[in-house]
């Protein structure tokens, strides 16, 4: 399912005139500094922030003008941390909430929930209380809910936040292996470079660059948008683009073995 944002203006985050496309089967990353409007932009996709102008098309239909809340939730599933910890849902119950926009028979729903848990490797933890899971397990449970929702598009809002490095790789490998159409806001630029087919760069609500990671993540752009010195190389272990960072300004003094900067 294709996602097309055209001339998008949002009342928050300074998002003005954003254009963005995700082709079917693509994994597209949205990067930008804190407050650049990544999450804000995603919220317009899952009907939480109504655009002031512009269109959000998913599978050719306007999410805000043509589709109802329920119909749009049948197309777009979201992985994001939005609380809800006060009540003790089990993992299976949480994943079952992904069936909300559908009106299926309970038995069919249970099969879909079980299959989703199986796909993210959480079948053995179906009866655990969600709030007792580790960070990585929580994200996988939320991913399973998104799968149970059976939308054609997966929206991920900083899915790797608060995960350790192993869990970050595990989660993104898992998402890639699902071969879904996905739009993900990512904080960690090297993860974006390693996992995304294409990147969009947001700066103060405007899309300032887009394209393949190696074309987008230039030292000039990273200095301009993120305010860092960057070197784009190749990860010797994976062969994917890899960034090394340093603060802008004068060359930092290298630390010596003795700790004496002279």
């Amino acid at each position: 399912m294709r996602v097309e944002l055209t001339g998008l203006h949002l009342p928050l985050g300074g998002v003005a005139g954003a254009d963005l496309r995700v082709e079917p089967g693509e994994f597209v990353g949205l990067i930008g500094p804190n407050g650049s409007g990544k999450s804000t932009l995603l919220r317009s996709l899952y009907r939480t922030l109504r655009p002031e102008a512009g269109t959000v098309l998913v599978g050719g239909d306007d999410v805000w003008r043509t589709l109802s809340a329920r119909r749009s939730a049948q197309r777009i599933a979201v992985v994001a941390q939005h609380g809800g910890d006060g009540f003790d849902f089990t993992v299976a119950e949480l994943v079952a909430t992904g069936r909300t926009p559908h009106r299926g028979a309970p038995a069919a729903d249970r099969r879909i929930v079980a299959a989703a848990l199986e796909r993210v490797g959480m079948a053995g933890k179906a009866d655990r209380v969600y709030t007792t899971l580790s960070g990585g397990e929580r994200q996988r449970a939320l991913l399973a809910r998104a799968l149970a929702q059976q939308g054609g598009v997966l929206v991920l809002d900083e899915p790797t936040n608060h995960l350790d490095v192993h869990a970050q790789f595990e989660l993104l490998d898992l998402i890639r292996s699902l071969r879904v159409t996905a739009l993900a806001a990512l904080h960690e630029l090297n993860l974006a470079a390693a996992y995304c087919d294409r990147l969009y760069v947001l700066d103060a609500g405007r899309i300032v660059a887009h394209g393949a990671p190696a074309d987008v993540l230039t030292p000039d752009l990273l200095a301009e948008v993120f305010g860092v010195r960057a070197h784009l190389g190749v990860n010797p272990l994976t062969g994917r683009p890899n960034l090394a960072f340093a603060p802008l300004g004068q060359t930092p003094v290298p630390l010596t073995e003795t700790g004496d900067p002279r």
Binding site: Y46, S68, V78, T90, T100
Partner: protein, 345 residues
């Protein structure tokens, strides 16, 4: 692995069946006991005769029939309906404001109903409104005011709603206290009974409106289980799951307030049922509303029937207000709940 909830799988239909079976048994037991104890067979016989033929059976004395059919049966049915309504309203409001400590009174509707009821008791009725009618009108007016105060740019944030309800409650309670101070000594016990809740003196005529409202609202809410579950997870998640969050929340608030108003306008401010029963049921079946709401309604109803029986029989000839009993039973449970550690599986 098995579910961490005590009642799951095959135990759930069993629990529903047991509670359904307990309804007629509890009703007969509650109607049979009191200042005069009557045999269960007579009670059953009298009630079925009235329901089928509309007349009193020949072999039951007129006095017994009066006690069973016109005195105890309506108040017991009212207790059942009131308990179910308050418990369901509490469960729904806990989901709407996403706060486990919410109850049907968090929006201030009870304070509004109390003020109106006490005003009618002390100052006399206005425009033909009795105590019940005034209480209902007071509850509705308060809800409208809370929604107005709690909304901003057309949206209702749960925290703001609760704060608006609490603030307004204090104001209304102040006014109610002032009226109590000015009340004649003879009016005070009536006021106290109303404020603490009681089903005493209920007649069949008082039952029609609350019954219809409680049954209709509970039925509608029981069909909203999926969307209620989504609401528990937060506005953004609910929206992402296809719930039109603002419209749905407004509908839930209106229905929960209607339930509360319908109950308290005839039974007064019975405390704790709406807070404790949803929690007790959730501890057993988990937070899924599709499973919990039917049990919440049944448990709430049975709980209040038992409380009313205790209110009538614990210290004869004095009859206690229901709120005294529900508070005595509810507070220890509530404190235990507060101190309980999160379940770890």
């Amino acid at each position: 692995m098995t579910s961490p909830h005590l009642i799951s799988g095959w135990r759930y239909p069993l629990a529903v069946a047991l509670l359904l079976a307990a309804v007629p048994l509890t009703l007969v037991a509650a109607v049979g006991h009191g200042a005069v104890d009557l045999p269960a067979a007579d009670v059953w016989h009298t009630i079925t005769a009235h329901l089928t033929t509309g007349r009193r059976p020949a072999d039951v004395s007129g006095i017994d029939d009066e006690i069973i059919w016109n005195s105890r049966a309506p108040r017991t049915v009212l207790a059942l309906v009131a308990g179910a309504g308050l418990a369901v309203a509490g469960a729904v409001l806990q989901a709407v404001v996403r706060n486990p400590l919410a109850d049907p009174y968090v929006l201030g509707v009870t304070s509004g109903a109390s003020l109106a009821a006490v005003a009618v008791i002390t100052l006399g009725g206005v425009a033909g409104l009795g105590v019940s009618g005034a209480a209902f009108a007071g509850a509705c007016a308060t809800l409208a005011l809370v929604l107005l105060l709690g909304s901003r740019r057309g949206t209702l944030a749960p925290t703001r709603l609760v704060l608006a309800g609490v603030a307004l409650s204090y104001l209304l309670q102040g006014a109610t206290s002032y009226l109590q101070l000015r009340a004649q000594p003879g009016q005070l016990s009536g006021i106290l009974f109303w404020l603490l809740g009681s089903v005493a003196g209920a007649g069949w005529d008082d039952l029609a409106v609350p019954c219809v409202i409680v049954v209709a609202c509970t039925a509608w809410l029981a069909l909203q289980g999926r969307r209620l579950n989504a609401m528990l997870l937060g506005d953004e998640t609910a929206a992402a799951l296809g719930v039109a969050v603002h419209r749905f929340r407004l509908a839930l608030l209106a229905v929960a307030a209607l339930l509360t108003a319908a109950v308290i306008s005839v039974a007064g401010g019975v405390a704790f049922v709406g807070l404790v029963v949803p929690h007790a049921v959730r501890l057993l079946v988990g937070p899924d509303h599709r499973l919990s709401l039917p049990l919440v309604a049944l448990t709430g109803g049975l709980f209040l029937v038992a409380a009313d029986l205790a209110a009538r029989t614990l210290s004869p000839p004095l009859e206690l207000p229901l709120g005294v009993l529900t508070a005595v039973l509810g507070t220890p449970f509530f404190l235990w709940l507060l101190r309980r550690e999160s379940p770890v599986t």
